[in-house]
Symmetry: C2
Subunit: 291 residues, 2 copies
């Protein structure tokens, strides 16, 4: 229970964050974890090349001055329930989930003691949770599990699974602009109109400060698609068909964007069209509400 940096942060990274040069996104993660004197633990359970992933982040966090670095080797659900693994979380300032496959990650940690302790770290101790690529997708309650990114949206082209639920009401996609994934995110909201889609570019992060606000950092932008006011023929469209979508709201938030719920931020008051998104992702929820 040593670390408590206040509200808890999520650093949701769109993949390919710089790890060898300016490391701006990882540097912010370290700052939000309490600075280089705090311990950072790395979860590579999404990856099929876990040791290689660890080597990359071990070096990157060492370069950022972090002395206490730990690799949590989770290759099974037994590992994710092991006391030795759980003890590593207890004094962590930051917990970082690497890329790989979000389904592999969730298969190994979903519903385990590790999952419960991860939430406790974020919700009770204000630990900073970072995730990149698959590690980013896994943070939402409804997780984009599989889906090809065609040139236009396509009914049935995406499937959701159960993610960690550190953030709710939103589906996260990554490598967003680089892999031209707007179509598949539109498919997600067309199929699930009460969820908002958040597409995060490479070397870019959506930073969420619980109960406080959001910020976009890094090189690119975060694209939000909101289908709640949409008119659509999704229900009657055939599988594989491109649906008709009228009145989707789209927000493009480039790096540097900051919005705080209380009072005007650097960019002024939160626009009405974004308020619900920010309320939703910064909401104080506890583990049991999630599951």
């Amino acid at each position: 229970m040593e670390t408590n940096h206040g509200h808890g942060h999520l650093v949701i990274i769109g993949g390919h964050e710089d790890r060898t040069h300016d490391k701006a996104v990882l540097q912010r993660f370290v700052e939000l974890a309490g600075g280089p004197e705090k311990k950072i633990v790395v979860i590579s359970a999404a990856s099929g090349v876990a040791e290689k992933m660890w080597a990359i982040y071990d070096q990157a966090f060492a370069d950022l001055g972090v002395a206490r670095r730990a690799h949590l080797r989770i290759e099974s659900r037994e590992d994710a329930n092991a006391d030795t693994v759980l003890r590593e979380l207890a004094d962590a300032g930051g917990i970082f989930m690497t890329g790989g496959d979000q389904k592999r990650l969730m298969a190994n940690i979903g519903g385990t003691a590790f999952d419960r302790e991860l939430h406790a770290a974020y919700l009770k101790r204000g630990v900073c949770i970072g995730g990149t690529s698959a590690g980013a997708s896994a943070m939402s309650g409804h997780m984009l599990a599989t889906g090809h990114a065609g040139t236009t949206p396509e009914k049935g082209a995406v499937n959701l699974g159960a993610g960690l639920g550190l953030v709710r009401g939103v589906v996260i996609d990554q490598h967003f602009s680089e892999r031209h994934r707007l179509s598949r995110l539109l498919t997600v909201v067309a199929q699930n109109p009460y969820l908002q889609g958040a597409g995060i570019d490479e070397d870019t992060a959506l930073v969420i400060e619980r109960g406080v606000g959001i910020e976009v950092i890094g090189q690119g932008a975060v694209t939000i698609v909101d289908g709640r006011t949409m008119h659509s023929n999704m229900a009657s469209a055939a599988s594989g068909e491109c649906p008709r979508l009228v009145d989707v709201r789209l927000h493009l938030l480039p790096t540097g964007t900051r919005y705080a719920l209380s009072g005007p931020g650097e960019d002024g008051d939160v626009p009405a069209a974004l308020r619900d998104f920010i309320n939703t992702v910064t909401k104080r929820i506890d583990y049991h509400e999630n599951h």
Copy 2:
């Protein structure tokens, strides 16, 4: 003045329409031109390989049963003012503008007698005007002239020019989903928020019946972006910077979509969010209002 098919149609094609197999988009163009017994004239002035273009469309329209086909060779503004050229328009049922470069097309025909006669054909005689790729872009009053399609919108990345103004209040982009051009269309509306953007996929057309309604035909979809309610920092953003855009409205209209202004169409009443777009593009305007 022989042809009058009623209201006049625009067939605005996103490029790469099929010319050798089903030719569904070109077939519809021929139908809207009054059928194969009518004369079709082809304008290749956008292209650097005009004779090659003519050979392709000459064959395609022949395959569709059109007996009277004419190639209007316009390589200069003098050509576009020549009586021999203008006479070819007088009894045309359909006028088709090929791809190439919309700036080349406008440099040769903008403000010429040909331009004036083209409008008269559409507005007074109800002739069907088709255009693909560059020929599609040139149809709007504000024409997308140059612009690279980056992964995210970018201040200053697009430049508009003066197009034909057969349709107003809208900027047309083509090869839309295939070349991932949403970012540049967002740049257009961010810079020009009173214009709506219409991005047309390949082998797909937005068909506009003047005073009546719209239809999407072909293989793909038409994407409309409406920035009129948007909040943006475009004015203060630096050149090359990705702007912040909040509350852009996006509409995705796949093939088969039909909306009529008067009474419910096949897809029911026009949704409120689309009504203004449809009103705008189907508006009855005359040549002199345009220029």
